[in-house]
């Protein structure tokens, strides 16, 4: 029984423990790791990932999946930049349009999932390719350079000279999402949908409408992530964005957002992203090659998921033993 308690404790705080262990190891191995400059760096670098992951977490908690978010970012970024640079649309108006386009792309995903009645994983596999094609068509595979300084401010600027704007946006999104998911009626419905869709349907929740809402919210938040990313780069091209979906998924799963839905918290998600960020940063500092970094990250994900499954299986067996 005592053993079980220990494993329960580990299960609950494993991510945090892993995080601390990593920090200690990297501090010993590299003198540059443990510094305010480096940590600010990690935060700035990861802020767009955290924002994107928050968007995805709405869908994952509701039991769905979105593979298209990387190309959603690409498409939104290209549209926004193109409006600003090629059509002379004022910066803030272009950004507003970009956010709406993002919500629209999400809505489209939700609509397709509802109409075709197939799992969002498959739907977004299709729409991902559509968005990719649209993005490259619009950009003509060319880079749009010299984005306006007001736009770049969102990725590179500082408030009071010390606080990065991207981090502030990230904090607002995280706190907002945390509030919505944990405190509101809508948040309850998101969890209900992921936890048992049929029971949610019978409890009077409009499942189709919820899916549309969840996908639109994701699209909206994803375009905020796109703004940060493109503003930081200072230029726009279609290859910016893709790949984010897998980082976000990894972080979400690491952070305890169940693949089948109904479970998970934003706080866990943030730690998940930061863990991946610290891992990447630390491996960079100790001069581990980029490709080896992929290997390590992959194994970290497998380990975390494996441990989670082990935990659940064990809890099930204990329960069975008690019942018999």
């Amino acid at each position: 029984m005592k053993n079980f308690e220990l494993s329960k404790f580990l299960g609950r705080y494993m991510l945090l423990i892993l995080f601390i262990v990593l920090c200690v190891v990297f501090s010993i191995m590299s003198p540059y790791f443990l510094s305010i400059g480096n940590f600010t760096n990690i935060f700035v670098q990861q802020s767009y990932v955290i924002v994107a992951a928050v968007g995805l977490s709405f869908i994952m908690i509701s039991g769905g999946m979105d593979l298209s978010i990387g190309y959603q970012m690409s498409l939104v970024g290209v549209i926004t930049s193109s409006l600003m640079m090629n059509f002379g649309v004022p910066t803030y108006l272009a950004m507003g349009v970009g956010l709406l386009v993002g919500a629209g792309l999400g809505l489209f995903n939700g609509f397709m999932a509802n109409t075709l009645k197939i799992h969002p994983l498959i739907v977004t596999l299709g729409t991902m390719t559509v968005f990719q094609g649209l993005s490259y068509t619009l950009s003509g595979s060319k880079q749009i350079i010299n984005l306006p300084p007001e736009f770049k401010f969102f990725g590179q600027g500082y408030i009071f000279g010390v606080i990065p704007v991207s981090v502030i946006i990230m904090l607002i999104v995280v706190l907002g999402a945390h509030f919505v998911l944990s405190k509101t009626q809508f948040g309850r419905y998101v969890y209900a949908l992921g936890s048992n869709q049929e029971a949610a349907h019978l409890a009077g929740i409009d499942v189709k409408r919820m899916k549309l809402a969840v996908f639109s919210i994701c699209g909206f938040i994803i375009s905020m992530a796109a703004m940060i990313l493109f503003a930081r780069a200072g230029s726009a091209q279609s290859s910016t964005g893709p790949g984010t979906e897998f980082t976000c998924m990894t972080a979400a799963i690491l952070g305890g957002i169940s693949f089948t839905g109904g479970e998970g918290k934003i706080s866990g998600l943030v730690v998940g992203v930061l863990l991946l960020g610290v891992l990447g940063n630390g491996m960079q500092l100790i001069n581990l090659g980029t490709y080896l970094q992929y290997v390590v990250k992959g194994f970290v994900l497998l380990g975390a998921v494996g441990f989670d499954i082990y935990q659940k299986e064990r809890a099930r067996q204990v329960k069975k033993a008690v019942e018999n």
């Binding site: 405190k183 509101t184 009626q185 309850r188 949610a200 019978l202 409890a203 009077g204 929740i205 409009d206």
Partner: protein, 492 residues
């Protein structure tokens, strides 16, 4: 015709809390069609599982070809020539007809498709049926799939073939075709154990019939020496004990009426429910009871018909519309449809009416807690705390959580689909008392149940369904198990 091929002797099987089979002995003869008859829970399925080796008995013996076994395994049972065709087909959907028929016989590295198709064809010829051997099974109609199942058993040289409700997926003409095949097999000396609810079929195809009731052997008779009436009385011959709480309140005006409600397969029904009434909904599995209540509740789309609530026409498209009109559903499968198992008791009890405890989009946790505690008290939900995950509760308490969820949505017409399935005796009694206090307070209940004593003990009135249609309506004075069975078998 007289050689005994299979005898079960003094077979007893108990599960925790239930005796499924109690000292059952039956003899099956070579080349006979032997029907097994009994209500739900009479022990038929357990018995065939024991013969198939899927379940091991606690006592008794199984004698096959003069050899006695205390238990069988699925492998041994097959080796002894026993094959079972279950209600749910056991076919590999993406393989062809021939591959399915001959599945598991080829032990060589490469499959000899020619030989396989030849063999499959010879079996189908013997059965007198024609099927495209190269067609994938998933493209077959249910009746054709069943032919493949039968052919599969024949290819295994089955000496004893157990058929569990084989006519359920078939149309009338397909049934007579299946009977032809059964007769052919019988001529070849195969013993067929035939399980069916449908009385008329048994009289058409069976040579002998054995009736089981509540896990006990009642009687084996030659089909020509018996009648439907006498079999029905053997099946139901239990005395009803008076453990159902008595109600003495008046039944009021109409609260719910359905006119030509149709959809969800082949449903087309008219009925009325009154204030303070428990209306029982009876019928065989597949008669369309659950389908009907899901239509009323808006869980599945309607094709036609009108629902009146307190005399006014209402438009119910989704469950939320039903809830808004005060109609609640306690679904058949509380684990899959009723509860959010990974969520707490209080979370579950508020989910169907969060509006009541939400202000400015925010759920008021204090009110939620108070409400959950009130329902735990009112319904006597036994849980260490309202924060407990519902998956850790017993079946009866889970059912009460689902009830709390429904009541919290201010419903006063409550549909119970199998309210006490899988719930232990003590908790059953509690659920009955709760249902009674609900109707005494002026609510109304529509109750689906396959449990005959429950149906007769709890209902004020009973509707019997057959093939999606109303087969009859019985008032309390007319209640009889025989009458209900007759109506639900389609005999009027």
């Amino acid at each position: 015709m007289t050689k005994e091929v299979l005898t079960v002797k003094n077979i007893t099987k108990y599960y925790p809390g239930v005796v499924a089979l109690n000292d059952v002995s039956i003899t099956f003869k070579q080349g006979e069609v032997h029907a097994l008859l009994g209500e739900n829970g009479a022990g038929k399925s357990t018995l065939i599982k024991i013969i198939a080796g899927a379940v091991q008995p606690n006592a008794g013996e199984i004698i096959i070809a003069d050899k006695s076994y205390t238990q069988l395994t699925p492998h041994l049972s097959k080796a002894l020539g026993i094959e079972v065709i279950y209600q749910e087909f056991n076919l590999l959907e993406s393989l062809t007809v021939a591959e399915n028929i001959c599945f598991g016989e080829n032990h060589k590295a490469l499959v000899d498709f020619k030989a396989m198709e030849l063999k499959a064809k010879s079996i189908l010829d013997m059965m007198g049926v024609q099927l495209d051997l190269k067609k994938q099974v998933k493209y077959l109609a249910p009746s054709q799939k069943q032919l493949v199942e039968i052919a599969k058993s024949v290819s295994k040289n089955a000496q004893i073939l157990i058929m569990d409700e084989p006519s359920a997926p078939l149309s009338v003409s397909e049934i007579s075709k299946m009977f032809d095949i059964v007769r052919r097999l019988k001529e070849k000396g195969v013993t067929i154990i035939y399980i069916s609810h449908r009385m008329e079929e048994i009289f058409e195809i069976a040579d002998r019939v054995t009736v089981l009731r509540d896990g006990r052997f009642i009687k084996t008779e030659n089909i020509k020496d018996t009648s439907i009436k006498s079999l029905v009385s053997l099946m139901v011959g239990r005395e009803l004990n008076g453990s159902y709480p008595v109600r003495n309140h008046p039944i009021g005006e109409e609260v719910l009426r359905c006119e030509n409600l149709s959809g969800n397969g082949d449903i087309d029904i008219n009925f009325t429910l009154h204030k303070g009434e428990i209306l029982g909904l009876s019928g065989l599995v597949g008669a369309g009871r659950t389908e009907l209540v899901r239509l009323i509740y808006g869980a599945d789309p309607k094709e036609g018909g009108i629902i009146y609530r307190n005399g006014k026409e209402v438009d119910i498209r989704l469950p939320k519309d039903a809830l808004a009109n005060g109609i609640g559903l306690i679904p058949e499968d509380r684990k899959l449809q009723g509860c959010f198992l990974e969520k707490s008791v209080s979370w579950n009890s508020s989910i169907a009416n969060l509006n009541a405890i939400t202000k400015n989009f925010v759920v008021n946790l204090k009110k939620e807690k108070k409400q959950a505690e009130e329902y735990c008290e009112l319904l006597n939900i036994k849980t260490p705390s309202i924060e407990q995950m519902t998956k850790n509760l017993s079946g009866g308490n889970q059912q009460k959580v689902v009830l709390a969820k429904t009541l919290a949505a201010n419903t006063n017409v409550i549909i119970f689909d199998e309210p006490t399935r899988g719930i232990d005796v003590g908790a059953k009694q509690e659920i009955y008392n709760l249902m009674n206090s609900l109707v005494e307070e002026g609510r109304s209940i529509l109750m689906i149940t396959s449990d005959m004593p429950e149906l007769l003990g709890m209902s004020d009135r009973i509707l019997v369904l057959h093939s999606g249609r109303l087969a009859g309506e019985l008032s309390r004075k007319e209640f009889s198990q025989e009458r209900i069975l007759e109506l639900s078998s389609g005999l009027s």
